[in-house]
């Protein structure tokens, strides 16, 4: 029976460029992982992009309704959330740097702060959703919107919930992956020679931030 080297993440003390058997060396594996994650992010651009397309179609058809509806969103909370996410991106970038320098506790610290900031974002988002529910601005049978723009305003809120909801789902997945990274850091799986998961999940996190960078003005700043 042929014996095959264990496939999977590199061994615990990755200081000798251990790599999966299908790759020739650790560098090739790292390049493949990076390219793979960027390709996945390209798919995410198109996934969110479908929503952005629909949004564009309806905003250009009903600019007044979208403007009216947008003013019902809390610009303060939206701004705070944007700042929180930008800070979390900074924190994630510092986490990657810590991994590159082999600084285990700094890595853990920055991963934790990124996760905490992500959780703060979600908490604020949840609060906003609750407000909208109480204001009867959730699309569906309970939707109430004063003024002539009412049916088109509901379209705006459909996109608001769909887009921010999908974004929040991606944040939750990101948080889960950060927790996994924290556990792997505690188990001393990363070093200067191998920290690919930190880099690739970092890329994902920054992408989710970029999506919000577009969502914020499109949803909160239509017409102020």
């Amino acid at each position: 029976m042929t014996s095959i080297p264990e496939s999977g993440p590199a061994s615990v003390h990755a200081s000798h460029g251990v790599h999966d058997h299908q790759f020739d060396d650790a560098a090739q594996q790292q390049e493949a992982a990076t390219l793979g994650m960027w390709l996945f992010l390209a798919t995410e651009v198109l996934f969110f992009g479908g929503l952005f397309t629909g949004y564009t179609v309806y905003r250009s058809a009903y600019p007044n309704a979208f403007g009216e509806a947008s003013r019902h969103l809390d610009i303060v909370l939206g701004t705070v959330n944007t700042g929180v996410l930008l800070l979390s991106s900074f924190s994630m970038a510092m986490a990657v740097q810590s991994a590159q320098l082999g600084k285990r506790w700094r890595l853990l610290g920055f991963l934790t702060s990124t996760a905490v900031l992500g959780a703060v974002f979600l908490a604020i988002k949840f609060t906003e959703y609750v407000h909208k529910f109480h204001e009867h601005l959730v699309p569906g049978s309970q939707f109430v919107f004063a003024g002539p723009e009412s049916p088109h305003a509901q379209l705006f809120f459909s996109f608001y919930f769909a887009m921010t909801g999908l974004h929040a789902l991606h944040m939750i997945i990101g948080l889960a992956m950060l927790v996994v990274l924290m556990m792997m850091t505690l188990a001393n799986r990363f070093g200067p020679e191998y920290h690919t998961p930190v880099e690739t999940i970092g890329l994902y996190w920054h992408f989710v931030d970029i999506v919000w960078v577009f969502l914020f003005p499109l949803l909160y700043l239509v017409s102020r």
Partner: protein, 532 residues
């Protein structure tokens, strides 16, 4: 051959169901796909059988109209998402790409296995929808029927398709990274087999297009579950938004289904003409051109849906353009055959059938791309004949051709050549008898998706159903003798066809890690002229 005589290969390297269901070997995963898609092919074929039985008589007397709607919906969904789209890439692509580039496996083996599981889970959801009452929206899920008014299992089916889409995305991602990063030394891009180029182009479509299908299905799910009304005209919504998002994927999806087949044809035609391909660079780049242009033509499905005439003209013009790279391939295959030393083994029969039938299907696509003609034949049997010529006359024939061509490599056994040629001819005859009359029916005005039709169309319908039974027989025969060959077929050597390509330089079946040592490539592809 006793067990002890067989050298260690990927099939014998380990035993037990866990070694198969938890495998990371791309070759085993390919076989997992082979078994699953064959099962789905049979289910999809069963629905086709019921459709053709109903259409034997003008009256809608076999099933009710609502039931008939479910039959054609489920036939389409299963054949497209669970058979055609995965077929060549997930079976032949998975098995052969690492071998053809001299690699030990794909870049992400565990992702590959995950792709299969995702495919199975999506399939289970869809089959659950089928057995608990079915879905009747047409495979195209048009709103507002699917989002608001349908009373069938839309959510369950839509979830199934949504989930399976990720299988496609992950496979495409895997192939792209593998082909970029893991080619053997000396294997430059323009020395790659055209099969690899075809799968690279296919993977680009899978990666860039499928996410938009995912979001369009998500929107239907949201509208159906939460009544949020994105496509609801009462709220100012536009049902055409769904169609744009849906067809942005679903048109390129047809290129996902045909490009891999074109890759297979390039491999077979060169081997059985004993010649290198004519115009390698053009064939390679035409795959990329088809992938790119294929994304710009989707509006030709919407000429009569209410799309603006201006957009219709733009899409019509772009649709003419996409025919050009396909035409280049057909010319180049023909030029390859010219003055070649041709043998008519079963794979070659399938490949030749592909070239002829794909050409017919493709040319009728130009009729449909012509705005004025489409107004007349849209939603008629002309459209159905057009895409079946390409999907069945093209893609399925290429799939069968490829399965036969690489069968010895995959299983270590030869298929029985005489039976294979007979089956190929039966398929060709059955296919044409089934679908050529449908061009006539469509032109004469028989609409699609109706279970009853005017009396004057019966002759052609009966011919079509007769053809379908012959076609079914033609598909059944290979299933039987291929299974038979696993035990009783002649043992195959590493290269029974004397073909060029790295996959033929390793034993049949290959060892688990594909090559004893990483090959070094020093020649162009298809150098049959040097190696007669």
């Amino acid at each position: 051959m006793t067990h002890a005589d067989v050298p260690e290969n990927y099939l014998t390297a380990s035993w037990g169901w866990r070694s198969w269901l938890l495998t990371r070997d791309h070759k085993r995963i390919a076989l997992l796909y082979l078994i699953s898609i064959t099962l789905f092919f049979i289910v999809g074929g069963f629905f086709a059988l019921l459709i053709r039985l109903e259409l034997l008589t003008p009256a809608g007397d076999l099933v009710q109209a609502e039931t008939y709607n479910k039959l054609f919906t489920m036939h389409g969904l299963i054949m497209i998402f669970f058979f055609l789209i995965p077929s060549i890439p997930s079976v032949l692509g998975n098995f052969l790409i690492p071998l053809m580039i001299g690699a030990r496996d794909l870049a992400f083996p565990r992702l590959n296995l995950l792709s299969w599981y995702i495919y199975i889970i999506g399939g289970v959801f869809t089959l659950a929808a089928v057995v608990t009452g079915g879905v009747d929206t047409g495979w195209t899920f048009y709103t507002p029927y699917s989002s608001t008014y349908a009373n069938s299992n839309v959510i369950l089916t839509a979830l199934g398709v949504f989930i399976t889409g990720f299988s496609s995305i992950l496979t495409g991602l895997n192939f792209i990274v593998t082909i970029h990063k893991m080619r053997a030394p000396g294997l430059t891009w323009f020395r790659l087999p055209l099969f690899v180029w075809a799968h690279y182009a296919t993977s680009l479509i899978m990666v860039l297009g499928t996410p938009v299908l995912a979001i369009s299905i998500t929107l239907i799910l949201l509208e159906r579950a939460f009544h949020i009304g994105i496509f609801d005209p009462k709220l100012g919504g536009d049902p055409l938004l769904f169609q744009h998002l849906f067809w942005f994927y679903s048109h390129p999806a047809v290129y996902i289904m045909i490009l891999p087949g074109m890759g297979v044809v390039s491999e077979i035609v060169t081997c059985y003409s004993r010649k290198k391909i004519f115009g390698y660079t053009f064939v390679a780049l035409s795959s990329l051109a088809i992938a790119a242009l294929g994304f710009m033509v989707w509006g030709h499905h919407m000429f009569v849906s209410g799309q603006s005439p201006f957009a219709g003209m733009v899409f019509s013009m772009l649709s003419f353009l996409v025919a050009i790279p396909s035409g280049i391939k057909v010319f180049n295959w023909t030029a390859t055959l010219y003055k070649g030393s041709i043998s008519f083994d079963a794979p070659m029969l399938y490949a030749l059938g592909f070239i002829g039938l794909f050409t017919i299907g493709g040319l009728t696509g130009l009729f449909l791309a012509t705005l004025a003609v489409d107004v007349h034949v849209h939603d008629t049997y002309f459209v159905i004949a057009h895409f079946h010529y390409i999907m069945v006359g093209g893609a399925v024939m290429a799939y069968f051709g490829g399965i036969h061509f690489w069968w010895p490599k995959i299983t270590g056994r030869l298929y029985p050549e005489v039976w294979a040629r007979i089956a190929a001819l039966i398929v060709f005859i059955g296919f044409n008898l089934t679908f050529f009359p449908q061009f006539l029916l469509g032109y004469l005005g028989m609409p699609r998706r109706y279970h009853a039709y005017p009396e004057e169309f019966q002759v052609w319908n009966v011919m079509s159903t007769a053809g379908a039974s012959i076609l079914g027989l033609g598909y059944l025969i290979p299933i039987i003798y291929l299974l038979w060959s696993l035990r009783y077929g002649r043992v195959a050597t590493a290269n029974p066809w004397n073909a060029m390509g790295l996959e033929w330089e390793t034993p049949s079946p290959p060892p688990e890690t594909n090559f004893a040592a990483t090959p070094i490539v020093k020649e162009e592809a298809y150098s049959y002229d040097i190696h007669t």
